[in-house]
C-alpha cells in the first residue's frame, strides 16, 4: 500500500511538472487557457463522479456547489477581508456546510428521487443567486472583477502565476480524490453502490458514509468553481443553472464513469469541442443535444469504460462495465 501511495504521489508530481512545462513547449497562452478551463470543469466532473460512479447516487444539482464555490470565493475577495488561500478555505467550508444541509435531506432517497431533489435544490439555489442582489449581483453576477492581492510572492494577476496556481490546485485535488477512492472509505462507497443491503448487514452506517461522500464531492466540485472564478475573474448565475449540471453529468458519462480519469477526459473532450463549435455556430444546444443523443442511444459507454481495468492492484479496482450494468438492472 505504502509503495503504491508513493508511486501515485510521484505520478501526480510528474503530471504537475509536465502540465507546468506544457505552455512553454509551444501552444502558449491559448493552450494554457484551455487547460485551466478544462481543469475547472474536470474537477466538477470528477467530484461529481465520486457520487455517480463510486456511490451510485446521481446528483443533478452539482452546479450549485460549483457556483457556491465561485460565488463565496468571489464575494469574499471583493469584500477584501482575507488573503486568497484563506478565502479558498472559507469558500470550501461554506460549500461543505450547504452540502451537509442538502445532503442530509437527499441521501436517504433512492436514485430518481435523489436526482430530482438535488435538481430542485439547485433551482432554488439559482433563484437565490438571482434575487439576493446585494451579495450576488443578481442577473449580472459578480461584476467588477475579483481582486487577488499577492500572497507568498504569488501574483494571480499574471497569467503565468495564475496558470501555475490553477494547475497545482487541480493536481492536488485530483491526487486527494484518488487517495479517497483507493482508501477503505472508497471501497465502502463501491460496496454501497453494488449492494447497499449487504453494506448495512456488515454494520456500515450507510447514511453517514453517503453524506460524507456527498459533502466531499460537493467540496471538490466547488474547487472547480473557484478556479473558474479566478480564471474569468467573476461569477455568473449560469454556473448554477441546470444545464451546467447536465453538462457535468455528460462529461462523466462521455469519459467513462468506471474509470477515475474518465470524467476529466470527458471534460477535456467537451471543452475542446465547445471551443470549436462556438466559433462556427450559435446553436450550441442543437449540437450538444445531438451529440448527447447519439452517445446515449448509440455508444452508451464512455471512452475509458472500454478500457478494462487490468490485474494491477494499484489502479482503482472498478467492476467492469458489464458487471456495473448488471447491478443497475438488479436495482
Amino acid at each position: 500500500m505504502t509503495r503504491s501511495t508513493t508511486r501515485n504521489a510521484l505520478i501526480a508530481l510528474a503530471a504537475l511538472v509536465v502540465l507546468l512545462a506544457l505552455p512553454h513547449l509551444g501552444g502558449g497562452e491559448k493552450l494554457a487557457d484551455y487547460i485551466i478551463f478544462a481543469a475547472a470543469w474536470g474537477l466538477l466532473a470528477t467530484g461529481l463522479n465520486l457520487l455517480i460512479g463510486y456511490t451510485g447516487l446521481i446528483s443533478f444539482g452539482h452546479a450549485m456547489f460549483f457556483a457556491s464555490g465561485a460565488y463565496s470565493f468571489g464575494a469574499i475577495m471583493q469584500a477584501q477581508i482575507m488573503p486568497v488561500p484563506l478565502a479558498i478555505v472559507a469558500a470550501l467550508i461554506i460549500t461543505g456546510a450547504i452540502a451537509a444541509l442538502i445532503g442530509a435531506i437527499c441521501v436517504r432517497l433512492s436514485e430518481i428521487y435523489f436526482a430530482f431533489l438535488t435538481l430542485a435544490f439547485q433551482m432554488f439555489f439559482h433563484s437565490i443567486l438571482l434575487s439576493w442582489v446585494d451579495v450576488t449581483g443578481g442577473d449580472n453576477g459578480l461584476l467588477g472583477g475579483i481582486p487577488t492581492p499577492v500572497f507568498f510572492g504569488v501574483d494571480l494577476n499574471q497569467p503565468e502565476h495564475l496558470y501555475a496556481f490553477c494547475v497545482t490546485v487541480t493536481v492536488l485535488a485530483m491526487y486527494l480524490m484518488h487517495r479517497i477512492v483507493s482508501s477503505p472509505f472508497g471501497f465502502t462507497l463501491r460496496m454501497i453502490r453494488d449492494n447497499e443491503r449487504r453494506a448495512i448487514f456488515l454494520g456500515v452506517n450507510v447514511f453517514a458514509v453517503k453524506l460524507t461522500c456527498f459533502v466531499l464531492s460537493a467540496v471538490f466540485s466547488s474547487v472547480g468553481g473557484i478556479i473558474l472564478a479566478l480564471f474569468i475573474s467573476g461569477a455568473y448565475p449560469d454556473f448554477a443553472f441546470w444545464t451546467t449540471s447536465g453538462e457535468a453529468i455528460f462529461m462523466v458519462m462521455l469519459g467513462g464513469l468506471t474509470n477515475f480519469f474518465g470524467p476529466i477526459l470527458g471534460a477535456l473532450i467537451l471543452t475542446g469541442l465547445n471551443d470549436i463549435v462556438v466559433t462556427y455556430t450559435d446553436h450550441y444546444g442543437l449540437f450538444l443535444g445531438g451529440i448527447i443523443l447519439l452517445f446515449s442511444l448509440g455508444l452508451r459507454k464512455g471512452v475509458l469504460d472500454f478500457v478494462k481495468p487490468g490485474g494491477r492492484k494499484s489502479t482503482p479496482a472498478q467492476p467492469t462495465a458489464d458487471a456495473k450494468e448488471a447491478t443497475h438492472a438488479d436495482a
Partner: protein, 303 residues
Amino acid sequence: MEPAALLDCLTSLSCVVTQTTSGLIIGMLFFLVAAGLTLIFGVLGIVNFAHGAFYMVGAYLAYSAYQVTGSYLVAVLAGGFGAAILGVLFERFAIRRVYGENVLLQLLVCYGFVLVADDLVQIIWGSEYLSMGMPQAFRLPPVFIAGGIVPPFYIFIITVAAVFAAVLWFIIERTQYGRIIRATAVNPTMVSALGIPTPLIYLSVFALGMFLAGMAGGLAAPIRALTPGMGFSVLIVSFVVTVIGGMGSVTGALVASILIGLVRSYGSIGFPLFVDGLMYVMMGLVLVLKPNGLLGRQEASRP
C-alpha cells in the same frame, strides 16, 4: 415577507375569491402536466425529464395554429396532438431503447432531447418572448363573485382541466384499457404473457402523457409568455407535484397540484420572494414525514 398582507387578504372575501381562482388555475394547469409525468413513471418506470419540452412545443404549436386559423379550439388541439405525435416519435426512437437501463442513461437521453428541442424552437420561432393574446371569445368583462374579480377565461381553463381530470380517472379506473395500464404498472411480464402487446401500451401511455402536456401548453398560451426553455420551470414544479402527491398516483397529482397552486397564489401575497422556497419546503416536509407522497404507492427510500 408580508404576513400582515396575507392576513388582510384572508379576512376579505373578495381577495380570497381572487386568490383561490388564480391558485386553482395554476394548479389545474400543473395537474395536466404532472398527470402525464406521474402516469408515465407509474407505468413505464421512467421519469420523463423531457416532459417540459413537450409543454413548450404544445404552446408554440398552439401559437402558430392560432395565428393561422384564429380558432383557439384548433390551437389547443394542435398543441395536444402535435405534442402527442412528437411523443410517439420520441418514445419509438429514443425512450424505447433505454427501458430498464440505468437511470443515468435515461436522464441523458431526455437531457439531449431538451437541448435539441429548445434550440429548434428558437430557430423556428425566434428567441423573443411571444404572446398569443386572449382569444376573441374570451374578451368578456370579468365576473364578480362576492366582490372578487374572476376572468371568464380562468373559469373556462379550470373547467376544461377538471373535465380532463374526470375523463382520465374514468379511463384509468373504469375501462378495459385502464385495467391493462394498471396491470402493466404492476407486472408487465404477466401482462405480455396474457397476449397483450406491452410495447404498444407503453407507447400509448407515453403519447397520452405528451398529449396532456401539449394541451396544457396550448391552454396556457394566452396567459403565459412563450419563450424557448419555458418548459423547464414547469417540469420542476410538476416534479414537485408528483413527489408531494406520490409518484405514480394520478389522484395524488390532482390533490398536490391544487395544493401547490394555492400555496403559490397565497404565498405571492404573504412571501413574494419566497414562493419557490415555500414549495421546496413543502416537498422537503412531505419527503421527511411521508416519503411515498400523500397518496403514493412507490417506494421513495430504499431499504
